[in-house]
Assembly symmetry: C2
Homo-oligomer: 196 residues x 2
């Protein structure tokens, strides 16, 4: 039995994967369906069998990103301490430093581009980012910090700002340095917590 979202040959899945890659590298507006279809090895006109419009395909990429985020966050749950889970989060951006220095953070750039629209896609675009902020807030609250929301924003703003500057200056080390700074910041927050 085949998953309805992944038909025989996995063409739909291939299209979403290719679209995610192309959207990250060139942006939504600059990426054509022909570009995506070619990368997925699917005939251009056939895209419309799986997605009614280009925006529908972009929506599917956003949903795939949310799934990726959920999987990433779930993998951190094996770590016993909130401090280690938070550090594992920021280290992911260090691991992605080379691609970030060239094309930016996949979540940040897509959200940034879609946010400026007013057709509904702008609201869905925040999904991956919102999910990460919620998770970070929970971890920080477990450290005993009452203002966990603000601290979560400070943390992830540091991540996203670092990614943006690393991209602008084409410098992977900028991302690494920022991640190291954030790891020390996480230690400071944990040390100042009410947790015994």
């Amino acid at each position: 039995m085949t998953d309805s979202t992944a038909p025989r040959g996995g063409k739909r899945e291939r299209l979403v994967t290719s679209a995610g890659e192309r959207l990250h590298r060139k942006g939504v507006a600059a990426t054509t369906l022909a570009d995506i279809a070619q990368a997925a090895d699917v005939p251009v006109g056939n895209v419309y069998y799986y997605f009614k419009t280009k925006d529908d395909l972009v929506r599917a990429v956003l949903e795939a990103q949310v799934d990726q985020v959920e999987a990433m966050l779930a993998s951190f749950e094996t770590l016993p301490q909130p401090v280690d889970r938070l550090k594992a989060l920021v280290r992911r951006w260090d691991e992605m430093r080379d691609v970030i220095a060239r094309y930016g953070c996949p979540f940040g750039t897509l959200a940034s581009e879609l946010d400026r629209r007013d057709d509904g896609l702008d609201l869905e675009a925040a999904g991956p980012i919102r999910r990460i902020l919620e998770w970070a807030e929970i971890q920080i609250r477990q450290l005993g910090q009452p203002d966990a929301r603000e601290l979560a924003i400070t943390l992830f703003a540091g991540v996203q700002g670092g990614a943006l500057l690393a991209g602008a200056l084409r410098d992977p080390n900028l991302m690494s340095g920022q991640v190291r700074h954030l790891e020390r910041w996480i230690d400071t927050v944990a040390a100042s917590s009410t947790q015994s």
Copy 2:
């Protein structure tokens, strides 16, 4: 005598201003020359008298942004203390919080979109950001901090990350909260400095 970059009627200037606004609100790829020309009240075909290509117009917007940054930084020079100059910088993003929550930071979003190209414009795109980082580094070094570069990056990453998250979550208060956090951070850096 008329400045060669601002002909009679200021049509070129109007085009650059309109282009800056439209590029900020819709992005480079999604903005058409017809859109820009209409906003500037200039016939579409006439754009090519002032700019050879669309990219040339984008380049002019980048140069205008650098000029705006220079003017902003120059205005801070009247403040006697580096601490106050740095706080004045981040407060500018608080003043822009409403437009940032809707369309992002004008410098950050333009750089983020252009960075992913490979036609030369991607290198020029970092101009405004690079200038701000250089200036912040100088201020922080005046505080007596030896690692002024890293601290400047941390500061401006906080600004840009806050702008990105404020845009994604459509929340001006997120930008304000982040700026207040950065002001306290500036005080901390100043307090830990070797400056007597």
